[in-house]
């Protein structure tokens, strides 16, 4: 067991939120076509409010603080907040950014303050594709320049490559670029519905056939046979497992102080402008409801062939209408990976068949063997 895993187990037993993502703003200087946020400022927390929240998070035992957005560098007080988080409150800080506002000066300052990593969104190694997703001409060049500045300061930089039909053919190029620059690279084939539940952007995601090809790329998954193997049936242990860390050792705070189990799980559990963070974390009915979920309690999924190996996201399931239900996007991933349809997919198929009650009339008369009209 790794040290981090050991600490997470301990935090879980003690009900300590080891890791929190705090979005400092939803404002952004890019307009990515798949983004799940609206970019207006509806009343962001002030510097004082954020520092007070950081005090509360530190007292609650939070160790890893991910600062994200929106674009974090759009906040004029960003470095003041970061410096407070690092040097006054000793958080391990991770940053998520598009990096287009990071030049040599900012990179040097980040090194001096010290951050664990900087994750930069990169959609392609080709400007016409990347900039076509961010809708900002020149954004790829600026993001790559920033990655170079950060790397030259000895900082850990990770390219985060969200895969969509529009850019999926370019992930080998992004990985090669990361390697050339000495950086890490992660891929994510998940397009998240808008925070308000609007699912219209989901069509941008990779289709099943494309995903199937990605999951068979040995450069990506290693042993294809092992990665795409038909899953073993769930046993007592896997059915007692927690679905994920959301609400257990991790949570998310919006720029307006709303607390959610995860950035991808928009179930409101309280607001730090009205309540203490720990009061929400420990006593919110919604947070405790999320905590009570075990795989064996899930509707549909318990009988699914993938129950022991599925990456089911309870937040995506919640956005589909039931946090104890299936997440169709993860069903599709399991299907693309193994070729075995999920219980949810089979149930939907049966339902669809039952719904066919009206058949189209033939366009021309059908003549029976006897010559009579059918």
């Amino acid at each position: 067991m790794s040290l981090l895993h050991e600490l997470t187990e301990k935090a879980l037993a003690l009900n300590i939120p080891l890791s929190v993502q705090l979005d400092l703003t939803y404002r952004c200087n890019e307009r990515c076509v798949h983004c799940y946020l609206d970019h207006d400022d509806h009343g962001e927390m002030t510097t004082v409010e954020i520092k007070h929240l950081l005090d509360e998070l530190a007292d609650a035992g939070v160790f890893v603080l991910s600062l994200s957005g929106g674009e974090i560098f759009l906040r004029k007080d960003f470095f003041e907040i970061l410096e407070y988080a690092r040097l006054q409150k000793q958080f391990c800080v991770k940053l998520k950014t598009n990096a287009i506002m990071i030049r040599e000066r900012e990179a040097a300052r980040l090194r001096e303050i010290g951050v664990e990593s900087i994750q930069i969104s990169i959609y392609s190694h080709r400007p016409e594709v990347h900039d076509g997703i961010t809708l900002v001409p020149g954004s790829l060049r600026r993001s790559i320049d920033a990655a170079r500045f950060l790397k030259s300061q000895g900082l850990r930089v990770i390219f985060a490559n969200v895969l969509m039909e529009q850019n999926v053919q370019d992930y080998p190029g992004v990985r090669a670029l990361a390697e050339e620059l000495g950086l890490e690279c992660t891929l994510d084939p998940t397009v998240t519905p808008m925070m308000d539940g609007d699912r219209s952007i989901l069509h941008l995601g990779v289709g099943n056939e494309t995903l199937r090809r990605v999951f068979r790329d040995q450069a990506l998954v290693g042993d294809e046979d092992e990665f795409c193997a038909i899953p073993a049936p769930g046993d007592e242990n896997s059915l007692s497992a927690l679905p994920c860390s959301a609400g257990h050792t991790a949570c998310y705070v919006s720029p307006y102080g709303d607390v959610f189990p995860c950035v991808q799980f928009p179930l409101p559990t309280g607001n730090v402008r009205k309540q203490k963070f720990l009061e929400i974390w420990r006593h919110s009915e919604e947070m405790n409801d999320v905590r009570s979920i075990r795989l064996k309690d899930l509707t549909t999924c318990t009988s699914c062939a993938h129950v022991g190996s599925c990456t089911r996201c309870p937040g995506l399931a919640y956005m589909e209408g039931n946090m104890r239900g299936p997440s169709s996007q993860d069903c599709e991933k399991s299907f693309a990976r193994t070729g075995v349809p999920s219980a949810n997919m089979l149930a939907k198929k049966r339902l669809a068949q039952n719904l066919v009650q009206i058949r189209a009339l033939p366009t021309s008369p059908i003549v029976s063997p006897t010559g009579a009209l059918a």
């Binding site: 040290l3 040097l87 800080v93």
Partner: protein, 105 residues
């Protein structure tokens, strides 16, 4: 023998989990946990209290250990943690822990 002073490196990430410190080195992001003795040393490392005084007043007072042996262990530990840039050590008091920024910031 000259005194040794120890100060927490403000750039290390640190949090107490059930009485034991989790610490991440600012140099290479290596994660450490400190046992109870090392946690006391970390928490007492204010830069102005000499290490022998920390050992005598905080460690020997709490654990049944001979002062000479405890001090030798503490010195080894302090140097090891300084190697990971978790602690700063000096033969003179560290009155102002090294500030990571110049005036320009």
């Amino acid at each position: 023998m000259s005194k040794l002073y120890v100060a927490r490196n403000p750039r290390a990430a640190a949090r107490s989990l059930d009485g034991e410190m989790m610490i991440m080195s600012s140099r290479d992001s290596t994660l450490f946990t400190l046992n109870k003795t090392a946690t006391i040393l970390w928490q007492s490392a204010d830069g102005t209290t000499p290490l022998d005084e920390i050992v005598e007043k905080r460690i020997c007072a709490e654990f049944e250990v001979a002062p000479t042996e405890a001090l030798a262990d503490a010195q080894t530990l302090a140097r090891e943690l300084a190697g990971h840039e978790i602690l700063q050590i000096s033969e003179t008091p560290i009155t102002t822990p090294k500030q990571p920024f110049g005036d320009k910031w």
